[in-house]
Symmetry: C2
Subunit: 374 residues, 2 copies
């Protein structure tokens, strides 16, 4: 398959998914209007927040489905859209938990409803709480409707139950990951005193999460619902064997972790022109990453530890942190880790239960992860 | 049926529902343990928060089911448990939105996780945010699993789809009600300045919600998911006619609104020994109720308006508010309104499509609402 064909395939799939989501949001909006204009407006905001993403999860569902011989693209698009709606719900609620009001360069649900309130003269703390309250409601709506998109796929009986089980697994596992992420943030607050700043409080660095704990959190929070279960759902829908479903799941888990590790790397060392986001954000926010967890156990770390999580972190301080991450070998270690998971992902694809089409389909995915590592 | 029989019926139904919920939580807990002890602990907290309620929604499902001739109590208990889990999700998230850390005399999910954090030495604002973050996750889990309990009922095909549609309707409508409740709280903040206190800000009382707006909000936020749709689900599961399902829905909508209006009355005029909660709570919190909305348009209101929503409201100030509510006729008006909705509910039961068993089953429900009005 040449590059032109790949693009055509990808666009065809993309259009199917967009159509399913457009119909779902149009139906919901119409239904919401009967309960009042402000409710209809909330659905419009939710739809805007559900668009503009890379549609990673629907792409995984559809790639697995077609690679394993499925031909009913409309059914696959519904299952893909279900995972996309779950994703929307999780990021809307994740933003509430992280007190973020911005996503993908624009305001998110919380930000939009905060801004409406401040414009109406509401004081900022009340306006922010209002924004977060509406975002909780919006996330609930997306979450609750994810199942319904599978119901709309036209699939019934035992197959529908298996797809429901996979969506359930995705949500069940990501909730555990979110819980651990919340706990890690708290350990940091407990170790360094409230909200970052001067390091080395009561608990000390020993209480910070280890590399293994962060990898497990990233697997639970993101890899399972973004890669492992969407791939399995596509395979199940295509009627694949249990062994093929399992192999794709293993591929998904590993490539998902590799993605997260690369994301963590690019968040500090990336080229802003490529990634479209500042390389100061993760450091200012004190994001728990493999990169920093590795460095935290080294003596050189003490010098820059206090900068992490400071909202006023300067470019010079970030530069100093990068130097330390090179010196401790943390950057090299993290790069090797990403490559290792990408290789394990590739090995899963070699399973004889999987057709060549699966290897063809997912080789570019592995290559793209490896290509993003220095 | 004498009182003794009624009690026996009620206990039998209750035990079925408790068993379904116990199995669900036990399964989930077992499954959560494989992802770590802290996640299993979250499921224990969620189970505790899902217990101790009056099980109003399962009772409605099962009463409608048996009144309309259904005999598979286990299937009905699963559908009832699904509505109960939806209820758990909604109150856990509602508490986050209201910044409440207590429910039914104990700490709720937010309160429990806040307390664990403060005990570990986390400063209060961070601990509260952590509590609320975990409560968002816990509510999501309850919400997402509500559908699954219907799947576990053993019902399939078109019947399962109709039950899913009713649960979907319950959630869809209550989200609108929650949105309007959030907006009403905000209008108050905008009319009186931040967080209550001295009344009569820029917008003035004209911006406060009217009696009709509050009735509609209470219908959307509570009556539909607590009475209307559970009753319809019980009837649908029993194979009732469309006319019987519609009549029970009308009954549920009206009795649900009557319940809310009575709750608002008892929140200010109730006997604490009966209701088990203080008659200062609603006033201190500035809860939007029919009672206060009616009084707000009267000149006498200006004298006490400033007390509403003040966390330091004294018993003497509450006494003064009660006097004004009597003088403006707001108490009488609200009592008449509750009786009116209860009567409309009763009229719906007279529908010839409904068997005598339905009237027998629901007469005590109407009587209990009327009995709580002076």
């Amino acid at each position: 398959m040449d590059t032109h064909d790949l693009l055509a395939v990808s666009q065809r799939r993309h259009q199917h998914v967009e159509r399913v989501l457009a119909v779902f949001f149009s139906d919901s909006h119409y239904r919401a209007k009967t309960l009042g204009a402000p409710y209809a407006a909330l659905w419009e905001t939710l739809e805007r927040n559900a668009s503009g993403g890379k549609r990673v999860r629907p792409r995984m569902v559809m790639a697995a489905y077609e690679a394993l011989g499925g031909t009913d693209l409309d059914a696959a698009a519904h299952v893909g859209a279900a995972f996309e709606l779950l994703h929307t719900a999780l990021i809307v609620h994740d933003d509430v938990i992280d007190r973020d009001f911005v996503r993908r360069g624009g305001v998110n649900v919380s930000g939009r409803y905060r801004d409406i309130a401040t414009t109406a003269g509401i004081p900022l703390p009340d306006a922010e709480h209002r924004g977060m309250s509406v975002a909780i409601i919006a996330g609930d709506l997306a979450l609750f409707n994810a199942y319904r998109l599978i119901d709309r796929s036209g699939v019934d009986g035992i197959l529908r139950t298996r797809l429901h089980d996979l969506l359930d697994e995705a949500m069940f596992v990501s909730a555990a990951g979110e819980l651990y992420d919340v706990d890690f943030a708290l350990r940091r607050a407990s170790a360094t005193g409230s909200g970052g700043g001067a390091g080395g409080g009561a608990g000390g660095p020993a209480e910070l999460p280890t590399v293994d704990e962060i990898l497990e959190m990233e697997r639970l929070k993101t890899a399972v619902y973004s890669f492992e279960t969407p791939l399995q759902a596509g395979a199940v829908l295509a009627g694949a064997s249990a062994a093929a479903v399992a192999a794709l799941g293993t591929f998904g888990r590993n490539i998902g972790i590799a993605y997260q590790v690369v994301d963590d790397l690019l968040g500090v060392f990336g080229d802003e022109r490529d990634t479209g986001k500042t390389t100061l954000g993760d450091l200012r926010e004190g994001k728990r990453t493999v990169l920093l967890a590795h460095a935290a156990s080294r003596p050189e770390w003490a010098e820059v530890e206090g900068f992490i999580g400071s909202p006023d972190l300067t470019a010079a301080q970030a530069g100093r942190i990068r130097e330390v991450l090179e010196k401790t070998g943390s950057r090299r270690f993290t790069e090797a880790l990403a490559r290792d998971f990408a290789n394990r992902a590739w090995e899963a694809l070699v399973d004889p239960e999987l057709p060549d089409a699966a290897r063809e389909e997912f080789r570019p995915v592995v290559a793209s992860v490896l290509g993003r590592v220095r």
